[in-house]
Symmetry: C2
Subunit: 646 residues, 2 copies
């Protein structure tokens, strides 16, 4: 009855202080409240609690299954797919376990590392599959410990396919998924949420459908929290299965596995693997169009939509699990047509949060990594505590060094040839570099006709918010103020503002104007003269690659540059300009010139020397206009600087 008890526990925690509740004097002085504002209730809940809450609220949801890629390049692509499909609001994703692919290793293509990336770097609630047959207890415990260490919180417990035809049960071994469920509960108590597989037509190897249901019940009673089913082709298959489960006392959530047919070949392969039979009515449609991929996909989408709709309409189904086969189009279309793909423009915080449990309270970050959140997460992965409420309260920020520029989740999405087209096959001087920056800002093609869609400091096109500053940014980049980060000032816009809003509704968000750029020492000299006039209003940090540091910031204190005021909450200040972290960031910012740009060219080539020159001689500058209610003065500062130079 482990399962039942767990559900009771998990729901009780969310109803402690509802409006209108009354409690006695003693108990109401309860201090066990959250220490951080819950901007996003999801962040504090376990997967099974989220599921329960969505069901209680009548919200329909979906989840997405992926398998680990075969190559490092495919891994890069899969991670961008996580980011894109994550935008539609899956309740979770899951990553399958491929015993042949060294699934628990540190390879960039392993199940473990892909799931780790999804949780930590893409911020997705993630279930890692794990199979148990043909593995020692120690292996399995080792995998689970590693998963826990990496911040994974959910396991899909499977038997897996026995190796060899003549499989025999081992006396003390892991012969069935239920053994793995029991093992997880024994060794890790209630740490993991556990999912198990259900077979709407019965497991192909089971003695009977009924016997298989009994096995499923065993898995649930051994401690599984919910069930995801094998794919099926008719809604009534699932609905019958669900009723049969309930009839024998399975009360946990059962999530139908949906397989949108995406092609003739993939269907045949999957059917062979899963030992399922394709119904005649589907075969009848598919066979005649088997060479027309588009037609099959269209049919698959239609079929999936109508099946999903029927399931949802039954009132018994609250969530749908999609076997994506690592593809985007068909699943996304089904979800959009069902109306459960929800690109929520609201953000709990201005930056994307990580889903690692130890980062749950994190709500302050330095602004410098705004365009490189994965690198920030990487460099802070060893921290035990994360800043919460105030940056200055954090343990000293010991940033890890960024050496692994080529880790797949930190790597540029574009290959070398594309980068050369964007950033110039051959540079003729600092001006060619100014031009690259300018094209990135304007979105206009460069002189060779290529659009510059990314920069070493920013792997994506300009943010919508930065677009607000586009004209001014263009002007200054043309003249050698090479901007890499900026934000406009905001004086109390609603937290639901589509461009600058974040956090719960009913609040107000604020920003101080920020501008960060590389520039020559000549410009810095003029800038410093100009800044004297703005002494109290503008804070600046100016540093070169050697660490020469010029600042007017008092006492190394951080400056909050984004904050929000919400009903019934303490103030949240999610981004700060932190003088200490800036010196760690400058190492990374300067290194990117070399690692991402200079190294595109031959050693000793003029292009490489130009970048090297900039790296060695330019300064990295950041400016904050503290007077957020007034018009941003930073453009005037730059204007004055250019005037002084003329």
């Amino acid at each position: 009855m482990v399962n039942e008890t767990q559900h009771t526990c998990s729901t009780s925690s969310s109803s402690r202080s509802d409006g209108g509740s009354s409690s006695g004097s003693e108990s109401s002085k309860d201090n066990s409240r959250c220490s951080t504002p819950v901007l996003d209730a999801d962040r504090h809940e376990r997967l099974r609690e989220k599921m329960r809450r969505r069901q209680d609220a009548g919200d329909k949801w979906f989840s997405l299954e992926f398998f680990p890629p075969r190559t490092a390049n495919a891994a890069v692509n899969l991670i961008s797919r996580f980011d894109r499909m994550g935008a539609g609001g899956p309740l979770f994703i899951d990553v399958t376990w491929h015993p042949a692919g060294d699934p628990g290793s540190d390879k960039e293509t392993s199940s473990m590392i892909i799931a780790n990336t999804a949780v930590n770097y893409c911020g997705l609630e993630t279930i890692l599959h794990m199979t148990c047959c043909n593995q020692t207890k120690d292996d399995i415990t080792g995998h689970l410990q590693k998963a826990k260490r990496l911040g994974l919180k959910n396991i899909m417990a499977l038997r897996g396919d026995p190796a060899g035809e003549e499989w025999e049960e081992e006396a003390d071994g892991f012969n069935y998924a239920v053994d793995l469920v029991k093992h997880i509960r024994n060794e890790f108590d209630d740490y993991f949420d556990i999912c198990v597989a259900g077979y709407p037509k019965g497991h192909p190897e089971a003695e009977s459908y009924e016997a298989d249901l009994r096995h499923l019940k065993e898995k649930v009673f051994a401690g599984a929290d919910f069930i995801i089913t094998q794919l099926f082709f008719r809604p009534e298959t699932f609905l019958k299965f669900m009723k049969d489960c309930q009839a024998i006392g399975i009360t946990c959530p059962i999530i139908p596995g949906i397989f949108p047919i995406q092609g003739y070949h993939s269907l045949r392969q999957l059917v062979k693997l899963s030992k399922l039979e394709v119904p005649q009515e589907i075969k009848d449609v598919i066979e005649p169009i088997k060479d027309n991929d588009a037609a099959i996909r269209n049919y698959g989408v239609e079929l999936a939509v109508s099946m999903c709709q029927e399931l949802l309409d039954s009132g018994m189904v609250h969530g749908l699990h999609f076997y994506t086969l690592n593809r985007e189009v068909a699943t996304t279309e089904v979800l959009k047509r069902l109306g459960i793909w929800k690109e929520d423009p609201r953000r709990p915080l201005p930056w994307a949060v990580s889903a690692h449990p130890k980062r749950r309270v994190e709500d302050v970050r330095p602004i410098f990594w705004a365009s490189r959140p994965k690198s920030y997460i990487y460099r802070t992965q060893e921290w035990d505590d994360f800043p919460n409420g105030r940056w200055g309260n954090s343990s000293s920020p010991a940033f890890g060094e960024l050496k692994d520029y080529y880790l797949f989740y930190l790597k540029s999405k574009s290959p070398r040839e594309e980068l050369l087209k964007m950033w110039g096959e051959e540079l003729t001087g600092e001006e060619s570099v100014f031009e690259v920056f300018t094209c990135y800002i304007t979105g206009e093609p460069n002189r060779n006709g290529y659009k510059v869609t990314c920069m070493p400091w920013n792997d994506d096109p300009l943010a919508t918010e930065t677009n607000l500053l586009k004209d001014q940014l263009e002007k200054v980049n043309r003249r050698g103020i090479l901007t890499i980060n900026s934000q406009p000032n905001i004086n109390g816009k609603p937290s639901t503002d589509p461009i600058v809003g974040w956090g719960p509704s009913g609040g107000y968000v604020f920003q101080k104007a920020y501008l960060e750029f590389f520039t020559s020492s000549e410009i810095v000299t003029a800038l410093l003269k100009v800044l004297k006039k703005y002494e109290l209003r503008v804070n600046y940090h100016i540093v070169n690659v050697k660490g020469q540091n010029i600042t007017n910031a008092p006492d190394l204190q951080p400056n909050a540059v984004t904050w929000g005021i919400f009903p019934g909450r303490e103030i949240i200040q999610p981004t700060v300009v932190d003088p200490v972290s800036f010196l760690y960031w400058k190492d990374e910012a300067f290194a990117l010139w070399i690692e991402q740009w200079a190294k595109l060219y031959e050693e000793e080539s003029p292009s490489r020397m130009i970048i090297q020159y900039i790296h060695d001689n330019y300064y990295l500058v950041n400016l904050v206009d503290n007077d957020f209610p007034l018009e941003n003065c930073l453009w005037q500062v730059v204007e004055d600087t250019f005037e002084l130079l003329n």
Copy 2:
């Protein structure tokens, strides 16, 4: 050379990250910065550092000496004098040590407890005098340990007057102040700042002026940080003394002790005690007017002003120490005429900070104790950590119980008879109570012609800020919404605003509108209906004496109701409405009805029963309007409530 070394250390810490400084890459990643925004640099400095900083900045300063009072009532008065004279900005005050008055005890008239009150409850930098002769080493160590525990950081080390005429040195005893200085440094290392006494005319018992200078040098070289002199009558006496000190190598600050003549009798007594001679030119003026107190005081003020001016003009004097004799008028006038009495309307935080070193980082408090800061400090005196940055990060708020309503520093300044005149000799019903509240708000005399200048929840007249709400407050109090705390909403006023500003200049302050009141259950019922319309906008907590608690606050989270944004700093949010603390506050708020008001009347008397009825049946309500940029809706909420009742 202990002394020299100390000064070097103390000044170096303040110059770490000046604007324009440059440093190497490694050292500049220094993490040893403040974890809290320094709103008030003073809060983090030792007295000797403050002195040094003021001297470097060319700021003239003053300090005030008091002696412990003889009676508990005099203690109450002295504490209000600390509050009033503290407003003029003394660098420190000092409290003399009266060996006959049990100076180290817990009596409310002891030197120790008066100094404790000045530091902790009045927020004043304080020096405790301590004499050593005729005391055992253990006694002295015990006193010093107690002083340290209470948050005292500065000791004036004195010999004191030997008991009996025939005093003989004790071999291992404390025969001179220098022995005490050495003892403090031996036992407490550098914890205390030590002050010693200087005698511009030489100590009356010294063999010679020169011998006395040598003794002074010994005291300084044993570890004293600065010198305060005995009183003198001619500026040249001090200036010569100072030059002589410097000539023999005394380099620490020497502060002249100023005694404004306040009366014939007190002058004669002091002169007798200090064995000083009054110069003939002064005697000549005083003798003829010896029975005219006002004339003598006027002369004393003139004399002090001209002497102080001459000292300041010499360029050798940066601070002046005043022997106040626990009187206010003469010293205040001298200070005002010198232009060094500076009532600074700026506040580092909206509430008065305590000077205990362990409260140095404290920058968040619940709003409930806004008018009872001393009670808040009392109830949190056992805390080891104080909220900093965010209330929710604080250790669980275990508030001490408030039983000691009659501790002199928590007690009402007004005696029982006066309170009866203000609050009614005889109450005739709840309406008489409404009237008292209304008179307190309006400032109009009550029906017996007395002004109500304090209430059980507020010992002072209405705050300037509350005056902004006066008309509305009057209206609602008349009808039984008995307000005890409120603030208007503020949407970004300059931090230098004379009424609502606080914190360093160049910032902006904000507030959410707040209203707290007692009211009947009938009104509460209507109010709750009305509040449904304002559900997302207004947060409420409604509680009765039994702890029945009705709220719509999410997850027991605190709501920030005052915050400030400053150049180069993190956000400060000094006041919150904290649901958990509110339940501790309500115990105190309800108890004050009985302890301060009901107990003025005979037991079983109708007046007492009326207050008891209110105590037993009314609710304490607090309301926050979260929409600070819009017009405060709380008056509309109350208006709607009254309408519903009609």
